[in-house]
Amino acid sequence: MNLFDLQPDEWQALLLTLKVAAVALAVSLPVAVLVAYLLARTRFPGHGLVNALVHLPLVLPPVVTGYVLLLMFGRKGPVGAFLSDTFGISFAFSWTGAALAAGVMAFPLIVRPIRLSFEAVDPKLEEAAKSLGARRIVAFFTVTLPLALPGILGGAILGFAKAMGEFGATITFVSNIPGETRTLALALYTATQTPSGDLAAFRLTLIAAFVAFAALIASELLARHLRSRLGGADA
């Protein structure tokens, strides 16, 4: 068995992992940007509570988060039942559920760097935008957001990496179903469950590391590009 020849089930797990991580990121990133902006630039009642909720998945063991998701979004859970009855959307034991778990677990990691970046954008530039007639939302999209891009990228890469490696919440929430929810991390776990699985586990580790490495390189290149767009200096 050649080390660099992926088996069909490895391919499956790899593609599934990329799909899950990508969808998790795609869905949670906009929400994270919004939450980060609210946390950074506004004071509202419940500010502290939102902040704490965002961080909760980090503090709790993933199994608990997965269990909470199961209780909420499971077939019989209040949210799950509602979504399934109203929109026909079901997260239970499907890759969408894996993406949900990955997204929730990655959320705090995405929010924090973005929030820091928003806080670092000089409000004077937003004032300048407003004095030129831009409404708050326009100023946000034309000034604040572009200037916070390095942080958004940083948050995204942390979140993507986390989503790729998420294990505990995923296996608890959507179980370990091949082709549906068995991502690389879960396949790796499965491999370790038999004595003969060491080689398979090693191969899977390499695959995961390789993908992560590729994603990081891409993000570094993008970050460098972003920085050079700023002309290497502040105005």
């Binding site: 269990y67 077939r75 859970g77 370990n176 091949p178 469950q193």
Partner: protein, 230 residues
């Protein structure tokens, strides 16, 4: 296509049985392996599983009571033995406090977590039953599952591990130093049942197949005890 939620410790056996089943019936079986507790809660939550195979009777009772599986379909498919595993070529060990303490020599005894893993609960019961708990409970290394405990012994991080016979048998780097008498712990029962949500016509045949001769032979070859199967 049949979906089976099975305790992770059964992986090797289940995959072999499934391929046998597939070649006989043409039905594909898909497994989701995880800890018994995890799976039990999922089955309770209505997971799209047809069969649930538990490594622990308490969890199966729990699921049956909470409407996860059809209580009438629960059946035992195998049982197991507890052993003490040590480095290869170690001498056999008597199940008494002095010998075990001597062997450990201040290091830890790896076993599945008595608080979380069925294997650990059985192990604890056995140790208590043999009057060994007092002396070793301070020296335990409770692991997430049996495989991790066994690997720890195989690597030499811990000199001794309390594990299932099935696991110890396949691991080439360890030897079985002692086997616990069946009477020292509640019977280690592997139970299978059809879930409430299953409407798959192949569920019953597979359940049947698990207790059939082909499956039992596979289980036996992997070290499971099959003589008590109904």
């Amino acid at each position: 296509e049949l979906t089976v939620f099975a305790a992770a410790s059964m992986r090797e056996a289940m995959e072999r049985i499934a391929s046998e089943f597939e070649s006989e019936t043409g039905m594909r079986v898909v497994f989701s392996f995880a800890g018994t507790g995890t799976l039990a809660r999922q089955v309770e939550a209505g997971a799209p599983a047809d069969l649930f195979i538990s490594a622990d009777s308490d969890w199966m009772d729990y699921v049956a009571e909470n409407g996860g599986v059809e209580p009438a379909s629960v059946r035992q498919i195998a049982s197991n033995k507890l052993v003490l595993a040590g480095p290869k070529e170690s001498p056999a060990l008597g199940l008494n406090a002095a010998e075990i303490a001597g062997f450990l020599d201040g290091q830890r005894l790896a076993m599945a977590d008595p608080d979380t893993v069925p294997a650990g609960r059985y192990g604890k019961a056995a140790l208590e039953n043999l009057g060994l708990w007092q002396s070793v409970s301070g020296q335990l290394a409770p692991m997430e599952n049996v495989r991790v405990a066994l690997a720890s012994v195989a690597r030499g991080d811990t000199p001794l591990g309390l594990v299932y016979r099935t696991d110890a048998q396949i691991e080439p780097n360890v030897a079985i130093l002692a086997t616990f008498p069946d009477t020292s712990h509640p019977e280690i029962r592997y139970l299978a049942a059809v879930t409430e949500v299953s409407s798959n016509p192949a569920a019953d045949p597979f359940l049947e197949f698990l207790t059939g001769p082909d499956a039992q032979e596979i289980l036996q070859s992997l070290g499971f005890v099959t003589d008590k199967v109904e």
